[in-house]
Symmetry: C2
Subunit: 299 residues, 2 copies
């Protein structure tokens, strides 16, 4: 297999685009796709300061690297909530090399010293829902307090179509309209959220991380076992194998039908002052329940 | 495994409803589901004369049998277009037993003596698209000429969710809004079309046909090999296995979101006078192209 752009041996084939690339042209393609997503979905404006929500996996590490390579003013933050083991020292080295900061935010102080699995157990809630709640809240808080304009997350095309399929199968229209690649800033304390990897698959972000020798962690989250999202990814891969391009068509079509730039109407949480769609935000409600649970535990 | 309704041994389990049934209670359940679909989607009005579009497979034969058992005034018609080999003599016996007519409509006279696979070859069109076009047109014509009020087809839940998934993956909104279980009569020569098996799966219609010893043909269409619909059915079955009830939720949700009773705006075909959304209907356009092709073939 030859590279579609030059005569070198290809190292990856992308049937959805009917092309194959050598290492150099794959890297070029990858950065072009990130740039295309940013333009198509109006993710970043001039002089915006971006912070990447870094989990340490292939997606967020590739995203950080790609944004730096594309010349964006961009730092990264790792939220330490007792989930995952990123290669922090090597990641810090990488940041230094590119003159980009990596913050490590020990969030356990905000969580009564507990980590996510323990909180989930206390509250009898699914780990993924607690983890998502905490991440969304604290990432936004970090970005507000440190004057970032945009939070970039590493969601790739497979993540998005898997989420989309789940929502379509259950016709959760509310979620569908909120699953946009760009969530606009609609409140002083609500930072714009963007997903610049939505035009790239898991296979592509993995290849990018490997080829560029990025210090990512190969571990998958131990709590994802048996998750619906993995089932949906599996069946979408089966369809993609027979009908290359289905994922991309499914995603782009949905964004046209349902809205790609979402404005969420927000008021202020009565407890913390951060934006919410309800009276008290879900993070504070969780903390309240946690306080009660801990109290009971102490007795 | 015991029947959920009595103490007999169950012969079928239906995880999507969290029940298992013996033969008698399964038959009762099956007829109830057909009746429920008819009521929910306003398929039949009092004194309506129904004609079942009979292919001879498990679905249409079960449908005919169920409608008779439910007491509807109902006949059946088999369109002979060179596709499939139904058990016509036994079906005619079954009709006689229940005082319901079975018509055999030799459609090849309308098609220059050709059968569907030959027409598809001549026109370089997919067999399924030619077959669908011919069936829709001639079934409607038959019903109009013989004063039936409703055409009932054997589409089951698996057919419908597979079609739905294809349309959602490609966001073919036009098809989505027309994929309703009830297509209303919107023209003198356009008979109402209904799908009373939409609340029952393939497994259930198959079980009903077997248990009632119905004379159905077990052959699947030789042209369906490699069809997208089979791929979609396969992946939906994988999801259903892990998340029972997904198909039903997906279907009912779609019908709520997209409309369950569709009114199609129709004018009259300039060639045959039958209703169409265009100037000349797709059946007449096909016949024109066929005439040309046959002319060229003769030279």
């Amino acid at each position: 297999m030859k590279c579609t752009k030059c005569s070198q041996t290809a190292i990856i084939d992308l049937p959805q685009h009917n092309v194959a690339y050598c290492e150099g042209h794959f890297n070029e393609y990858f950065l072009n796709r990130v740039q295309k997503a940013i333009k198509t979905y109006s993710m970043v404006e001039e002089n915006d300061r971006i912070v990447v929500a870094l989990s340490g996996g292939k997606d967020s590490v590739s995203l950080w690297h790609a944004l730096i390579k594309l010349g964006y003013a961009c730092d990264a933050v790792f939220l330490d909530i007792g989930m995952g083991k990123p290669k922090l020292e090597e990641l810090q080295e990488m940041g230094k090399k590119f003159n980009s900061k990596l913050f490590i935010y020990d969030a356990r102080a905000d969580l009564f010293g507990l980590d996510i699995p323990k909180i989930a157990k206390f509250l009898k809630k699914p780990t993924c829902s607690v983890c998502g709640n905490v991440r969304r809240y604290l990432m936004n808080k970090f970005a507000v307090e440190n004057n970032y304009d945009v939070i970039a997350t590493g969601h790739n095309l497979d993540d998005e179509v898997s989420f989309l399929l789940g929502n379509v199968l259950n016709w959760q229209i509310g979620y569908l309209t909120r699953q946009s690649p760009t969530l606009l800033k609609t409140h002083d304390k609500f930072v714009k959220k963007v997903k610049p990897l939505v035009l790239l698959t898991e296979k592509e972000t993995y290849a990018y991380a490997l080829l560029n020798e990025l210090p990512f962690s190969g571990e998958s989250c131990p709590f994802s076992k048996g998750a619906s999202s993995l089932l949906y990814k599996k069946v979408l891969n089966e369809i993609e194998l027979v009908q290359p391009g289905t994922k991309q068509r499914f995603y782009s079509g949905a964004m046209k039908v349902w809205n790609s730039k979402t404005e969420v109407e927000l008021s202020e949480c009565k407890v913390c002052g951060y934006p919410t769609t309800e009276e008290v935000c879900s993070f504070c409600r969780m903390r309240e329940r946690l306080k009660d649970a801990l109290g009971k535990q102490a007795i």
